[in-house]
């Protein structure tokens, strides 16, 4: 026999021999050894050793394990005994046990769901192979200890970086805001003439596919976008449009415009749900002749993604970028007429944001993307912890409350010879058993609740049944919680002195009542805080919805997708629609005072101050003469666009811009923008919120012009359904090859505050959950107390106590605790909510009434819970209680 260099790991072999049935040992060890040497040959010795362990672990199966070793062992017999006793004590007091386990299970289920959510939020953009090398490039402005960051950069910077920064392997620009065809478009295949509205378009350089390691189903990362007018579509879109053919090489037309014909260069897998970048159509920036991809040093329109060379240090790369900026970029910016370059030299730098940080945005980069909230992750984590704690507290509480029942058992066990450690083990294993049952229940509850939770949180999470870590971590959870929550009852119960308990001297433990009271206080304090949070969110939401915005969001209907029509047809459609009854004004525009409209910002100066300073940034909207009327906005000074004043060099500004210009008499003033276009102010419109109500109204300049995409109507109709049918009919007559798509402005407005709505609903849900858990505990405690004081009640009644007097007497103890909890919770809740709302604009007032409602509702609920048992006790015939001696 040849001498072998490697041998199977001896420890694993010994382990196997220990647990394996003797009659199997020979064949199994032989098989594994053969496998081991085969693996050494094919792979490596290390792999082979690892694999040997894997195989050994996989032999721990019922059929292969020797049975005789554990049989008749005392430990096992005792363990079986403990489990049997636990089961008996569960089934002896069914109601009590089901409250104990059910409350526990509910807590765990809530925790599971939150844990899934938190895990999902933390998992964003963590799936790349070159995880550490992928960055988003952002600007950084450091001034006086404050740091501001934002994404947008100049287009030509790409070439400069590629040529001068060797650390950078690849760099790609993307256009993620609604410019050109980014955003949503009407799409058709070349041979079809029916337009379908699709969302999720953005522009990117071909390199993006490689940087973000986008998985291609058809085509390659290198070629798919490397020719003009190419695009990459997602698997979903490919299945929808090209179910029975190879999509690569097919053409699609955007917005019915033959010049916007794109050839499918590749099909990618859909973006994973936990990618911050989402979209179904990537349009190439390569070889474009106008619009996206062509803008020069004037404008910052692009979000840059980059992949560094292996081993490149991001800090050093940032320094290199700064040098490159000073040597190559500054001159260009000067030529492009940028002001404030000296300030830029002093305060501006670049920051490479690791891709995994983009979603939760810990660096607070200002961008257009969807973000999760790190705060929300923390808040939810905390809520999960607290709910779990509540459930554990309940468990401990209920276990110790019932100790009198177990006292005799403990005494007897001690007499028969149990030592304290045995008893502790017994009660610990009992609570682990409880816990395991609770976790099974919790899994069932969580699975049932998951769809509701998903719609609450706006996610699509799945139970990770088949992930390798799921079962083991549940097991670990059962053990940890079981031991933690069993520890106090175990120590407490095992302390009993047998001679005392058997004589019946020892009562139900006065010394535990302090602990129990503390726990009840804690539970209710948490509950009240959650109720406060839910009410505050609700009030904040109501405040936003009822805020007078400066325009009339209730009366406006938007008809979408006009960009496929030529301008003559738009005018015709508009006129036709104005003839529909109840429609008073109509305007075609691209700008809406809600999220999702277009944004164009420019810097402005008073004409005579152009070269003196940096000016200020203001949004620039192109609107027509009907815009203000259609949205119900009011002019405070000057006049609207009409006839004479419909000139593209006349502008209407908002009050905020007028304030920025610092003029006594804004109407008639001359204003100039960064492209040296001069305007005359003809009117001032009352400030209206066109961004979040939680911010302030920014400066806005309205220029005369016709819009392209959205037809907004001011409708005052008693029968909105009829009006919509009429509108739809007009649309069908004009544009038969495109479906009628509309949206109410107030719905769009509500969507802007989705995060707040969700926070409100989630707080509400968890408040209810924690109330239920706390009340279950309180109910069981009161039931127990009533049982214990049964005789006392009987005697009191005989001596003439009234029903209400007795009920009050019994409830008093608990209500004291609840009151303490309420008074503890109110200041804490106030502080928390104050921090949660932060310094937003239009913040809801934290009034006393609000806290009073929260406190009162907790008290009422608690009272109702307790009175079920106390009333029952007060109403029983005293004979029933006193007879049973």
């Amino acid at each position: 026999m040849k001498k072998r260099r490697h041998i199977p790991p001896p420890l694993a072999e010994r382990l196997l021999q220990r647990v394996l049935r003797d009659d199997l040992a020979e064949e199994v060890l032989g098989d594994l050894e053969e496998k081991f040497y085969a693996t050494v040959e094919q792979k490596s010795a290390r792999k082979a050793k690892l694999n040997y362990w894997y195989q050994v672990v996989n032999y721990l199966r019922p059929f292969a394990i020797r049975k005789s070793r554990l049989k008749n062992s005392n430990t096992q017999a005792m363990l079986q005994h403990y489990i049997k006793i636990s089961w008996r004590s569960v089934s002896r007091q069914k109601a009590f046990s089901s409250i104990k386990i059910g409350g526990f299970a509910m807590g765990i289920a809530a925790c599971l769901l939150i844990a899934l959510f938190v895990r999902h939020e933390l998992s964003y953009d963590t799936f790349y192979q070159d995880q550490g090398a992928i960055y988003r490039m952002t600007n950084q402005w450091k001034e006086g200890g404050e740091v501001g960051r934002w994404t947008n950069l100049q287009g030509p910077l790409k070439t400069v970086i590629e040529e001068n920064v060797p650390e950078v392997d690849l760099v790609a620009r993307t256009v993620l805001w609604s410019w050109g065809n980014a955003g949503s478009n009407l799409v058709r295949k070349t041979e079809s003439n029916f337009n379908i509205d699709e969302d999720g378009f953005f522009y990117a350089d071909p390199e993006l596919l490689s940087i973000l390691e986008i998985k291609m189903v058809h085509g390659t990362r290198e070629d798919a976008l490397a020719e003009p007018n190419r695009m990459v579509i997602s698997q979903t879109i490919a299945d929808k449009y090209f179910s029975d053919e190879n999509p690569v090489g097919q053409q699609m037309v955007l917005n019915d415009n033959p010049e916007d014909t794109y050839t499918v260069g590749g099909v990618m897998e859909d973006f994973p749900l936990n990618s911050h970048l989402q979209g179904d159509f990537i349009l190439t920036l390569f070889g474009r002749k106008s619009g996206p991809g062509t803008s020069g040093w004037c404008c910052t329109n692009y979000v840059f993604y980059t992949k560094l060379k292996p081993g490149a240090d991001p800090g050093a790369t940032e320094q290199k970028l700064l040098q490159v900026r000073d040597t190559y970029v500054m001159d260009q910016l000067r030529t492009a007429g940028k002001a404030g370059l000296n300030e830029m030299q002093e305060h501006h730098s670049y920051y490479l944001q690791p891709i995994a940080d983009v979603y939760l945005n810990s660096a607070e980069v200002n961008d257009n993307s969807q973000h999760g909230s790190l705060d929300l992750v923390w808040i939810f984590g905390a809520i999960a912890g607290i709910i779990l704690l509540l459930a554990c507290v309940n468990f401990v509480n209920l276990s110790t409350a019932r100790s009198i029942q177990r006292a005799k058992e403990v005494g007897l066990r001690k007499v028969v010879g149990s030592v304290r450690s045995d008893l502790i083990v017994q009660y610990l294993s009992e609570s682990v058993v409880f816990c395991t049952i609770a976790i099974f229940l919790a899994l069932i509850m969580a699975t049932i609740a998951l769809p509701f939770f998903n719609s609450l949180a706006g996610k699509s999470l799945d139970m990770p049944w088949f992930e390798w870590w799921f079962a083991p971590s549940l097991l670990a959870l059962a053990l940890t919680i079981g031991i933690l929550s069993g520890l106090y009852p175990a120590i407490y119960l095992s302390k009993f002195n047998p001679s005392e308990v058997l004589r019946g001297v020892k009562g139900a433990g006065k010394n535990t009542s302090f602990m129990r009271s503390g726990m009840v206080v804690f539970q209710f304090a948490v509950t009240v805080i959650l109720i406060i949070s839910a009410i505050v969110c609700q009030e904040q939401f109501r405040l936003i919805m009822n805020k007078s915005l400066g325009y009339d969001k209730e009366q406006v209907i938007n008809i979408l997708g006009l960009n496929t029509l030529d301008s003559a047809k738009k005018v015709a459609l508009k006129n036709e629609i104005l003839s529909v009854p109840d429609v008073s004004f109509a305007t075609v525009s691209d700008f809406l005072p809600v999220d999702g409209g277009a944004t164009h910002n420019r810097n402005y100066w008073l004409a005579e101050e152009r070269l003196l300073n940096n000016g200020f940034e203001a949004a620039r909207w192109t609107v027509d003469e009907d815009y203000l009327d259609a949205f119900g906005m009011t002019l405070v000074e000057g006049q609207n666009f009409s006839g004479m004043t419909s000139d593209r060099f006349n502008i209407i500004i908002n009050e905020s811009m007028a304030k920025q210009l610092a003029l006594q008499e804004p109407v008639g003033a001359e204003v100039i923008d960064m492209f040296d276009e001069k305007y005359k102010v003809i009117g001032v419109v009352k400030d209206f919120y066109f961004e979040s109500v939680l911010g302030t109204v920014e400066p806005l300049a309205m220029v005369y012009g016709t819009g392209d995409e959205v037809l907004s109507l001011s409708v005052r109709s008693a029968d909105i359904k009829n009006t919509l049918t009429a509108l739809s009919a007009v649309w069908e007559g004009f544009v038969p090859n495109q479906s009628f798509k509309f949206a109410f402005l107030n719905q769009r407005f509500e969507q802007m505050y989705g995060a707040l709505t969700r926070a409100r609903t989630l707080f509400m849900t968890f408040a209810v959950l924690s109330i239920v858990i706390a009340c279950l505990g309180l109910f069981a405690l009161s039931a127990y107390m009533v049982e214990r004081r049964g005789k006392e009640v009987g005697i009191r009644k005989i001596l003439g106590a009234s029903v209400s007097g007795i009920a009050a007497l019994l409830a008093f103890d608990f209500m004291q605790l609840v009151l303490v909890a309420v008074f503890l919770a109110i200041p804490i809740g106030w502080l928390l909510m104050d921090a949660f709302l932060g310094d937003i604009n239009n913040r809801v007032e934290l009034s006393w009434g609000l806290f009073a409602i929260a406190g009162l509702s907790a008290i009422v609920i608690a009272l109702a819970t307790i009175s079920i048992e106390t009333l029952k006790a007060a109403l029983t015939n005293p004979v029933e209680k006193l007879r049973s001696e």
């Binding site: 020979e26 064949e27 996989n58 199966r61």
Partner: protein, 113 residues
């Protein structure tokens, strides 16, 4: 009476035992399974299933030759019994009958490309 239905994994293993003939012992069956299906499987899982098939009476086994690469240990060789054969045939006939009821397949229109 033991369950006499075949699971998917059981069916595959039974077939592999047939294919391997004299060489049908746990390690070889596991190897063959991995190379034929490109799926990972542990020897323990295979062994446990072979054991179960033996209990059901579809397989029988005896200890075979010892070789050097297994440290001079003998191996357990499995062979298919008549009832194992029958179970395989039943299972195949069932599939075939299902396929023949599948209209797209019957008319030859189904495309597996």
């Amino acid at each position: 009476m033991k369950e006499t239905k075949l699971g998917e994994f059981e069916e595959v293993l039974l077939l592999l035992v047939g294919i391997l003939g004299e060489e049908a012992y746990s390690f070889k069956v596991a190897e063959e399974f991995e190379s034929q299906t490109k799926r990972e499987v542990s020897i323990g899982a295979v062994h446990s299933t072979l054991n179960r098939l033996e209990e059901k009476g579809f397989l029988e086994s005896e200890m075979g030759q010892a070789t050097a690469e297994r440290g001079g240990r003998r191996k357990r060789i499995y062979t298919i019994t008549a009832s194992g054969q029958r179970a395989l045939e039943t299972s195949r006939d069932f599939r075939v009958s299902l396929w023949s009821q599948f209209p797209a397949f019957a008319t030859g229109k189904v495309n597996f490309g």
